[in-house]
Point group: C2
Chain length 685, copies 2
């Protein structure tokens, strides 16, 4: 309706008309405005803050009445009371459009383009791609022995290359005849060699000898980012790597927010499917431009992703994944056409999705298994892919167990008071001075430490904006090492800790990392609530690993592999102090980098690996943490720092953790023996 209110967003300038009562967040989503939301519009996260403008905007030709948005509501009231809303701010998910309005999206409410790319790990891969090129000489048509051009081309492939029963997409039939004649009956064809479901098929045809290349894409479709590696299918080389934000972020940062968005909105799943496919197409355009190749030369693609992304990519409502028994629509590998997913690569390109292991353990975990291969290991390997969900594999060549653990988004900087994603300006490394107990730190985008000379100038480009996931882990571990936090997770007082950085913050204490307020910047602190969030996350991760160890019947593992972009940035020592991972020699804790991406690349370049991982996934023992009583038990005991489930002889030989227990409030004498210590002792015996 043209009489619906006009909504204009700044700084993007995007505009549209929406019925009265439309939430600002909904309008932003529909216009593709870069407005953040972590909770999926439930009024919890406050990421969708906006600043409505009132009065006359001559540039936009509108006058905004004071009642252009719905009145301040109870959710906003409560949020303001508890955490404070800046003057003039509204929550985009609460305020609804009532009249023409101009809405500014402040920088902190925008979803930034993440700069940390998932890189392609160096790896030797056996080259046996699904699509290969063949040059053939085809018999000319003979009207006395009439047969179709395709039938003679098939015959040539059989006689000259031993390829039998080769079909062709309709598209090939549509372009083939002039090409055969242009090449004087010599052509190059790209043949997809088929699989158990599909006979081989001609995908592309060129006159004469084609001197160019054909390409494949290995895509790691994450909840936050979509990363792709473009590979030359003849050489196996990675030609370009690129990443984009997953546009689904608009619908909620963590997976469960997206599942709930689809439950609350009738077209929600469809919207999200469209968003992720469009994001994918954007990535492909970007990566092809970077490599300076024609997008239509991309003839094969492999995708890895978690089960929710898997379903949303395929256009399947993830409803069942949001509740027990977490039933996947399909757990098997998928072989599709690119056109089934509206992808803008070669029209006959095929797409392969690795199988899912279980409702919480996706094709990304399968790709990690393909890349890190615990199923081929003599040692007992623990492979942990840390993200919003942690996928955990434990095994050796005898057997492999897998589970997923709901770590939540704390490791990604969310739900942490000064937390943020890994982006320029985020604190990523921390050290606390043993004497002053003051923290020095490093920021993404700046090479020197905060106490180095010239830091102020060096950091000016990015500013200091928050703490990212690996930063918060180091922070908490350092606080524990230097006696600022006790084993149960309490921050002591300035007196108890001897740190001037500690200050009282309501009923608990907080630790100040950095104060930029004099220069108009943020104050970066670690609250006791932040410590709790990290404790919950690491307890979930540890309990999953410990549950698998129980099921395997072992008390220790030989090796720990940290997979994922985040895993690559964690300091193993700090992770162990925190009790995230079991006790292990530090030289046996390694990072596999983007193992899921590497697995995708292996499946892209070697079709034998596809059959192999399908078999492996079938054989993996799946453990559902949600219904395992042992998991709950471990979880309760694993919140101590380090956890109270097992002894840490190796860790203890490296770091002497102060044996302290703080007690704030009235629940016991300050500095006395706390419950955490007792729990830890009990677990150690």
């Amino acid at each position: 309706m043209s009489s619906d209110p006009l909504v204009i967003f700044t700084p993007s300038g995007k505009r549209g008309r929406f019925p009265k009562g439309t939430p600002v967040l909904t309008a932003a989503r529909q216009l593709g405005v870069d407005l953040d939301s972590v909770c999926g519009g439930r009024g919890i996260c406050s990421k969708c803050q906006v600043s409505p403008g009132y009065g006359t905007f001559s540039k936009h030709g509108v006058t905004v009445a004071p009642d252009a948005l719905s009145p301040w509501n109870a959710v906003e009231e409560r949020y303001d009371e508890k955490r404070g809303l800046k003057e003039g701010r509204r929550l985009g998910c609460q305020a609804t459009v009532q009249g023409d309005v101009v809405i500014d999206v402040p920088a902190e409410s925008q979803v930034h383009k993440q700069v940390v790319r998932k890189r392609a790990e160096a790896r030797d891969i056996v080259l046996n791609p699904a699509v290969k090129l063949y040059v053939v000489e085809v018999d000319e048509p003979d009207m006395h022995e009439p047969s179709g051009d395709l039938e003679r081309l098939r015959l040539a492939l059989e006689e000259q290359w031993g390829l039998s029963n080769v079909g062709a997409d309709l598209h090939i039939l549509q372009i083939m005849q002039p090409i055969l004649r242009k090449g004087a009956w010599k052509v190059t064809v790209a043949v997809h060699l088929g699989d158990q479901d599909n006979p081989p098929r001609i995908m592309q045809i060129w006159p004469g000898q084609y001197e160019g290349r054909v390409y494949g894409l290995a895509v790691d479709l994450g909840s936050t980012t979509i990363a792709g590696h473009l590979c030359d299918l003849q050489s196996g080389e990675v030609i370009a790597s690129s990443g984009v934000m997953n546009p689904q972020i608009r619908f909620g940062e963590d997976l469960m927010s997206r599942v709930s968005y689809s439950m609350m909105n009738p077209q929600g799943a469809e919207e999200m499917t469209r968003a992720v496919r469009e994001g994918m197409c954007g990535l492909f355009t970007q990566i092809a431009a970077e490599a300076e190749i024609d997008q239509k030369l991309i003839v094969d693609a492999v995708f890895v992703c978690n089960p929710v992304m898997h379903h949303l990519l395929l256009g399947i409502d993830p409803f069942e994944l949001g509740q027990a028994p977490f039933a996947l629509a399909t757990s098997g590998a998928m072989r599709l056409r690119a056109t089934d997913l509206d992808l803008n690569i070669h029209p006959a390109a095929r797409v392969y999705l690795l199988p899912c292991i279980a409702g919480h353990v996706g094709a990304d975990a399968a790709a990690v298994a393909l890349s890190e291969a615990p199923q081929k290991s003599d040692d007992l390997m623990l492979v942990v892919d840390v993200g919003t969900n942690a996928e955990i594999l434990l095994g050796n060549k005898e057997k492999v167990l897998a589970c997923s653990s709901p770590t939540g988004p704390a490791f990604e900087g969310a739900q942490i008071s000064s937390g943020q994603r890994a982006a320029p300006g985020a604190i990523e490394r921390v050290e606390i001075d043993p004497d002053t107990k003051v923290a020095r730190f490093k920021v993404i985008g700046c090479d020197i430490w905060s106490d180095d000379e010239g830091f102020e100038e060096a950091v000016a480009a990015t500013g200091i904006t928050g703490i990212c996931g690996s930063g918060i882990i180091e922070m908490v571990a350092e606080m524990r090492i230097h006696g600022i936090v006790d084993a149960p997770g309490l921050i002591g007082t300035a007196e108890q800790t001897g740190s001037a950085s500690v200050f009282q913050d309501g009923r608990t204490n907080s630790y100040q990392v950095y104060d930029g307020t004099v220069k108009g910047g943020p104050k970066i602190t670690v609250t006791n609530r932040d410590i709790r969030e990290i404790q919950m996350a690491k307890a979930a991760l540890y309990s999953g690993a410990r549950l698998l160890m129980d099921k395997f019947g072992v008390d220790k593992v030989d090796r720990v592999v940290l997979a994922g972009a985040f895993g690559a940035h964690i300091s193993p020592r700090h992770a162990m102090v925190l009790g995230m991972i079991p006790d292990a020699p530090l030289d046996k804790v390694s990072s596999a980098g983007n193992a899921a991406g590497t697995g995708a690349r292996i499946a892209l370049l070697n079709t034998d690996a596809r059959a192999e991982i399908e078999k492996t996934v079938h054989a993996i023992h799946k453990i559902e943490t949600a219904v395992e009583p042992r998991f709950q038990e471990h979880f309760v005991n694993a919140s101590a720092i380090p956890n109270a489930v097992e002894p840490f002889p190796i860790l203890n030989s490296l770091v002497a953790l102060p044996d302290i227990t703080f007690n704030t409030g009235g629940s016991g004498p300050a500095g006395g023996e706390g419950g955490g210590r007792r729990r830890r002792r009990r677990a150690s015996t």
Copy 2:
């Protein structure tokens, strides 16, 4: 451009703007206006006549200037001189738009909806369709043994029905989960059972026990009409039959006009592909409405068509089929998805196209072979499918030969001065009185003969508009029997023939069948040129049959089967008098009706028949008439009536054909021994 001239067509009211210089026929095509054209816009057929209006059209809000169309051109001048253009008429393919104009399409230039439907022949068919329904009970998901819903459904199909390796389209995955739960883990699935190229696939799923039906379509895609039979796949019954005009008629009536349209217009083939697919969708909507079923329950379809339609349907430019060596893009059977062809049936429906025999002998001929099965016959069978091209099969269980012969459109009433398609008002039966030599006739849509009492009233509903294909055959044969035409094909004078219906018409004579001019109707005559056209057509048909007989090494055949809607209306006796078919006992000449449609239905209902016809087609010996010197030889001698190639002992025992030869003009004495007789004698020795 909005400043381009506005073109309004009446009576349809369709309008659009076109650049100056656009031919009226092109504008009509682009707007989908019902304006006939047989020659594909080459200025030959005059079917595209239009009446431009000048002056002010207040209803349409335009004023048409006298120069709104291009001036009369040389092609129109010549046509007017030779055949006469009615006052105010222009040829739509010649006149171009120069300004705003209102153009009337007179009734005779409109493509009428053909009422003669290709009917479904009664036939027993073994029932073994590609899609069957199965009720299964599926295990509920178990989070301790996680597997996808699809995997458990597959397992149930394997355990309960012995179906292994059953896949599912993405569409099924998208709808399956709520259906499984709604049916309390009991569902009905429709499974396409697969073929050599494709494993079985689930196409549809219903909760619980589905009590409805699924349907298939057998489609006979002709150059002029598209006819479909909707079949119940469980019972094999034909539920509804329907037909529509092939919308490609706009681009030329005969196939070669369409091939040349695609050569002359860069997007021509695409336009025609779009047109035929849209026509198809229109038919499906119509047939589903007639049967009162949901179109989405149509889960399988079989198509038969000639090679040009085959290519245009598939979106392949038919260019190569227009020139030697007539190379098909593919001759094999095609197994596609309905979505590949933009068809509006079940999204996962499969489409099967029968194989083509050769560049001129299509999937329709293969369907005739499937239906009439000369390859299984003890007798030597000649099967002739008469159309714009005649497809001819000759064979028995030893071997089968096939060829196509370019009969041209004369048998369909085109290129005949009073010719028209088989539609109400067309003369379809003729008898000449032996004494008065005056013709009596029957008209389609009227049950009584022209000399019966009450004829004038009975025929008033349809009028008498022309002669259709079967009518012209009887007409010429009757003229030959009654001495009005001689063996070489000349019409004698009124004196020579003793018929008052004969009149001098330029340098030759014509025969008047009916004169409706006093009542403002047409004068229906047979000119000597019409006789020539029929001679050419029947000579082509006969020569093809004769060539196959030579190749087979026989002089006679045991049986003759006339296939096609037209074949069903031909009188065998008249066809033999004309020399269309070889001499054979009249009781051995039969009509198979719509054999191609029957073949399509067999392939739809019995997948074994698909494999069978693919093998048969592979084994058929293909003969290309275009390059056979013997064909040219036969053709020269086959123009006599009956032909001069062989003796007609059976025919001669039935009819005493007058042994006359007329001679008009200066090439010999009138009534003397003509070349035709001598040729015939020579051929008889």
